[in-house]
């Protein structure tokens, strides 16, 4: 029960200026909406954010860009955001772009105690500049280092008081990996249940990786590209 906190304010109480935080999600899918709202309210500054994307204008990490709280973004794809583009082109915002698979694996490695690994992704491109190259199985690979963060903030569908998490559909994405890589991991969940309510066979993130958990007040779950087909 000691992991359970009342709300985002209590969960994020000691996040300070200049910290590095990981935020789960792919596009706007599976992002910790309540915690992002709390970061805006707190006004924490000069954050380094590790997140696959940077939200859109007016939602997700786009909210923290508008208030200029982000110093540096570490992401794989940052389109769909005018304010991001403006800050990047003016030099206000540092951006480190990383191939998506390498970003995921660097988070996983950070949480798994593996300081670095070799991957073929990016060999021969500008992202390989300055990185060690080794040949395995006749193919060149580059050395990529693990990522960790002061705080990892993830979003899950269901969680229990022991910190165990279950994600829904494609909202899983980077969340389980980042949950492993935070010095302190905060989980905001749609539904917080008593320990014992979730089937241990179906836990995605075991509670050992989660230090704080709370039930989000509201989940807007905005859709970035609504695509539908007509009924016949």
């Amino acid at each position: 029960m000691y992991k359970v906190v009342k709300n985002a304010e209590e969960a994020l109480r000691d996040i300070q200026d200049d910290m590095t935080i990981m935020l789960g999600g792919f596009g706007l899918c599976g992002i910790p909406e309540n915690s992002i709202g709390e970061l805006v309210r707190k006004g924490t500054k000069r954050l380094t954010c590790i997140s696959n994307n940077a939200g859109v204008d007016g939602f997700g990490l786009g909210l923290l860009l508008e208030t200029k709280q982000i110093k540096k973004m570490i992401s794989s794809y940052v389109g769909e955001n005018d304010e991001f583009e403006r800050q990047m082109l003016s030099g206000e915002l540092e951006v480190d772009l990383i191939p998506q698979g390498s970003l995921a694996e660097r988070c996983r490695a950070g949480g798994a105690g593996i300081p670095a690994f070799y991957t073929p992704a990016g060999f021969g491109t500008e992202i390989a500049e300055g990185k060690e190259v080794r040949i395995y199985n006749g193919k060149p690979h580059i050395l990529e280092e693990a990522l960790t963060a002061d705080f990892a903030i993830v979003k899950a569908w269901k969680g229990d008081t022991a910190g165990n998490l279950v994600y829904k559909a494609a909202a899983r994405n980077f969340n389980p990996l980042m949950a492993m890589a935070g010095k302190i991991t905060i989980a905001e969940v749609e539904e917080l249940l008593p320990a014992g309510s979730l089937d241990p066979n179906e836990i995605h993130t075991p509670g050992i990786f989660v230090q704080r958990i709370f039930q989000g007040k509201k989940f807007e779950k905005r859709i970035e590209q609504r695509t539908v087909r007509k009924r016949d």
Binding site: P99, E126, N175
Partner: protein
Amino acid sequence: MALDKIGIAKRIAQELQNGWYVNLGIGIPTLVANYIPSGIEVEFQSENGVLGMGPFPFDGEEDADLINAGKQTITTLPGAAFFDSATSFAMIRGQHVQLTVLGAMEVSQNGDIANWKIPGKMVKGMGGAMDLVASADNIIVAMMHSNKAGESKLLINCSLPLTGVACVKKVVTELAVLSIIDGAFHLIERAPGVSVEEIIAKTEGRLIVPEFVPEMQL
């Protein structure tokens, strides 16, 4: 006549084989899913963490938690699975995905591909493209033969920043199907009614043309 985007997608769909796991990129590649030949069963992988992707949902049935890598709302088919991003790229890097289809701005005769960055323009990022092209055994590029300025996109060397080196095996354009072998484009098929001369004129890289070039059967 040169093919339209649907024609390119239809021709690529002919490459699909039973039991394959396939990753489709954004744009023309996405259309391939609409033209799977009858009798062929494949499963589509989306690198954000979905295997067994189905068609777009009916209006009103979209789910914010169920999207593809293009952030579009989707559905799943029976037998689908969800997984995290590291597992997703384990499938890709580990060569468990049999075919990757993606778009490109440039392809070189050596199989290099450039599709993520134009110097001086807003850089959106590579997403999963670098991981996909570095690892996939079988990569087909779907693109137009020339850019909007009318310049060939099949080059001796790419001029744009690379996404991957020596990785593209096949290119399907509105004019032709070409294989990349030993540092040259090999003309395999031409679009119905398109002349070999037009393809030669619009291909800057080294092009090997056999005596007889069949028309695509669509």
